[in-house]
């Protein structure tokens, strides 16, 4: 038996449960609910200004969260990469450890902190502030996103900074660069692939999430993920929810693949971050 036939069971699986489902999504996106005939109505419905405003809100919250993750994550990765290897190993482990907690439990933890009777409001109360309304705000959603996805930013940047030969920095110093120049002209450009994969690894889940916004933002901050989820599970098949939902999913997929295309363009040789 030839070795390539080893892949046969998987190939069958792949065609039925990876390839076919994607085609089905496209099929639903481009056909009418009633007659199954080809139509662009779903795409038109998905491009409705109300839905576009949701998309715009999702993108802006995702951009804010990604920028905060970058501003916090880069210095963390940089400081860790300059430490003694043994200390850095322990600290980087500590920064990744929360990722092993269930994603919903991590989000739920912030529900308890931000609650009107929660710990943060109690502490603010001690200094005479509040109680503030912290839950069900856009701020709460951003905090949830940053909290959940910060390690995705730290990890790829840390990996690349750690591999960077010290000789590069020493050479720059020998040639008379001060510490600011070393950073902006040597360290930062060399760490660009890590930064880009970090940005993608934070931005993509932020833009597609629906649980974080539902739990921390209440129902008033609908994000694109929520919108798709509602189309499928609340509007339902009978009212064309599956068709519009499929069209919305296609738009989201296009967005994500554009993001990935940008990464591939910048980052040809790295294989991307793994999580272990």
């Amino acid at each position: 038996m030839k070795r390539k036939y080893f892949a046969t069971p998987y190939l069958a699986w792949m065609i039925v449960l990876i390839v076919a489902p994607m085609i089905i999504i496209a099929y639903y996106a481009f056909t009418g609910q009633a007659d199954g005939a080809f139509t662009l109505d779903n795409i038109k419905a998905a491009l409705d200004p109300i839905y576009m405003s949701v998309l715009w809100r999702s993108i802006s919250l995702a951009v804010i969260s990604t920028v905060i993750c970058l501003v916090l994550g880069y210095p963390i990765a940089y400081i860790l990469s300059r430490m003694k290897p043994s200390t850095a190993a322990i600290l980087s482990m500590l920064f990744i450890l929360p990722m092993w907690m269930n994603f919903l439990l991590r989000t739920y933890a912030w529900m308890t902190l931000l609650d009107t009777n929660g710990l943060i409001n109690r502490l603010l109360g001690l200094v005479g502030i509040g109680p503030l309304r912290l839950m069900n705000t856009q701020g709460a959603v951003v905090v949830g996103m940053v909290y959940n996805y910060l390690p995705f930013m730290i990890l790829p940047i840390y990996n690349i900074l750690q591999k960077m030969p010290k000789a590069n920095i020493e050479a720059a110093q020998d040639l008379g660069a001060n510490s600011k120049q070393v950073f902006t002209r040597v360290v930062l450009p060399l760490s660009r692939p890590g930064v880009i994969s970090g940005i993608i690894m934070v931005f993509v889940p932020c833009i597609t999430t629906f649980a974080i916004s539902r739990l921390l933002g209440g129902s008033q901050f609908m994000l694109y993920g929520d919108l798709i989820e509602t189309q499928f599970l609340s509007v339902g098949q009978a009212y064309g929810g599956w068709n519009v939902g499929a069209a919305l999913s296609c738009i989201m997929m296009v967005l994500v693949f554009i993001c990935l295309g940008i990464t591939n363009h910048f980052d040809k040789d790295s294989s991307g971050g793994t999580l272990i």
Binding site: F6, Y10, W13, V19, M22, L72, N102, G118, T208, L215
Partner: protein
């Protein structure tokens, strides 16, 4: 100046660790709170742990999560490893097409994967509940196994396998004795990754959940109704279990490297003794 810098760096790292751990620690502390509201401390109590273990729904969800994680990671490892061996021996072009398709569930948003599977299951008339959940988890786990086995296959040289054949080994024997041991680390890490991804998954499970709740979807349904002290107790237990598992894995792997180092040292000593004699 220098010392100030170091202090500031340490302070920043400390604040970020507090940001990451404070929510978890607060949850663990409040899981022992007798009062139901989060802000009030009503005295120490293990009442919520008792309530947790009496809650049949949570226990059932835990069982679903664990059995799906175990079965899906084993099946995905079997299918993924054989697939990787097969794909590795294919022509470059076919290989690239298959690997790109395999990458789809990895790069696609979970939301889209979940929806696409929901469509497929309803068209194929897969019964709702546990079967759907299991099939979905196997599907999104296989690519991660393939992705962790493929690099190991690329590192092994084909000439070792061919040498075994030349020495009279049957292909199946050579595969077992030559190829498998070399890619074993990739298989194991793929399986661990698959297991943890399965336990952690929420979005894909959410679209296949009708009739079979796992822990993630059950927590979501509880959390949507507001704060529930039982979830605090559950988080505390899960955090401790995860911490213990990670420590165990680290201790074992560091022991292995220690042993390897000791062996290497021993070998060196013997070689030197032999050279002297």
């Amino acid at each position: 100046m220098k010392r100030e810098h170091r202090f500031l760096k340490g302070l920043f790292i400390g604040i970020m660790l507090v940001f990451l751990y404070a929510p978890i620690i607060v949850m663990i502390v409040y899981s022992f709170n007798a009062s139901r509201t989060m802000g009030n401390w009503g005295g120490f109590s293990t009442e919520w742990y008792g309530a947790l273990f009496r809650d049949r729904d949570i226990l059932a969800a835990l069982e679903v999560t664990l059995s799906v994680a175990v079965i899906s990671s084993i099946v995905a490892t079997l299918l993924g490893t054989t697939a990787a061996i097969g794909i590795h021996s294919m022509k470059r072009r076919t290989r690239n097409v298959i690997l790109t398709t395999t990458n789809l569930p990895v790069v696609n948003p979970d939301l889209v994967t979940g929806i696409s599977l929901m469509f497929a299951f309803s068209i194929l008339m897969v019964p709702q509940g546990y079967t759907r959940l299991l099939l979905a988890h196997i599907t999104f786990n296989i690519p991660y196994v393939i992705l962790s086995v493929m690099p190991k296959l690329r590192q092994t040289s084909d000439s070792l396998y061919e040498a075994a054949l030349d020495l009279g080994a049957k292909p199946s024997y050579a595969l077992r004795k030559v190829v498998l041991p070399q890619i074993a680390p990739g298989i194991v890490s793929g399986m661990i990754l698959a297991f943890t991804l399965s336990v952690d998954d929420f979005v894909i499970s959410f679209f296949c959940q009708q009739g079979a709740q796992n822990l993630s979807t059950y927590i979501y349904s509880l959390a949507r109704r507001g704060i529930n002290p039982k979830i605090n107790a559950l988080s505390a237990i899960m955090f401790v279990v995860v911490l213990a598992l990670l420590l165990l894995v680290n201790v074992i792997s560091s022991q292995n490297t220690e042993e390897a180092k000791a062996k290497r040292r021993e070998k060196k000593r013997r070689r030197m003794a032999a050279a002297e004699a």
